[in-house]
Subunit: 169 residues, 2 copies
Amino acid sequence: MEAMEAILSRRSIRRYSGESVSEELIKELLQAAMSAPSASNEQPWQFVIIDDRRILDEIPRFHPYAHMLKEASWAIAVCGDLNLEMMSGYWIQDCSAATQNILLAAHARGLGAVWLGVYPNGERVKTVQKLLGLPENVMPLCFISIGYPAEKKPPSNRYNESRVHHNHW
Amino acid sequence: MEAMEAILSRRSIRRYSGESVSEELIKELLQAAMSAPSASNEQPWQFVIIDDRRILDEIPRFHPYAHMLKEASWAIAVCGDLNLEMMSGYWIQDCSAATQNILLAAHARGLGAVWLGVYPNGERVKTVQKLLGLPENVMPLCFISIGYPAEKKPPSNRYNESRVHHNHW
């Protein structure tokens, strides 16, 4: 798939076929993630890839928008490691760029995916840290739910001229 | 350019040929930006596209890593509009995803670009708000410097197996 097409046609996919996604494909998504830029190239990210059905089924019990994980093949928890930060406070941006790369790579590879926010919801952060055994310095930014798509969505043109300003507000 | 190739081969480009980049191409980058996902699809972003040489030359006077703007054709200030947030606190993630889309689209279109952090540096945020006349509720996340590349960088393989955890830390 052409890069611009992938960017413009990616949608949040919440229904999956049940077909299992290979760990090799998940590794490709992580290669995409770690190709993201980061402040001072600090790469402050950590990833937990999840295919344990008990964990996938547990997440929707505390995350109100994560019901699709019951059908997903994998979830990836994208986390920021505060001990790896050289430029304090930029991990959210770095990990968000990595997350966007995963979503685009998934779409380009014929997978469906959706970003499920965790941080800055303090309750969700603590629950995920406990569920996955994360050290206190590892902050879960989000889950990405991944599977082969069982729904098709047309590209959504969100371009909004009123959000564009030229040289000055 | 193929999507996965674009993701894996994108690098921060800080030297430019001086050739001017058309406003049409900048509009394509903004279409890419606004195709990013956002919390509850709130799309809390605003963009200031800058080709005024006085403004481009002014930015490196207060931003220590922005010297390349003196050679750049455009900068895009990616901003979060707090008045457009429905899910409070997610604008940084939403605008970071939009920024990553711009970087990838620029690379796919043969341009060079680099992400210059502004937020959460409070001093820089205030200076940019004043320079661009932004309302108080509009937070500049970053500048993206854009031009035709005058340097070539090979893909950088940042994949790091030690950052990958399976089901549990």
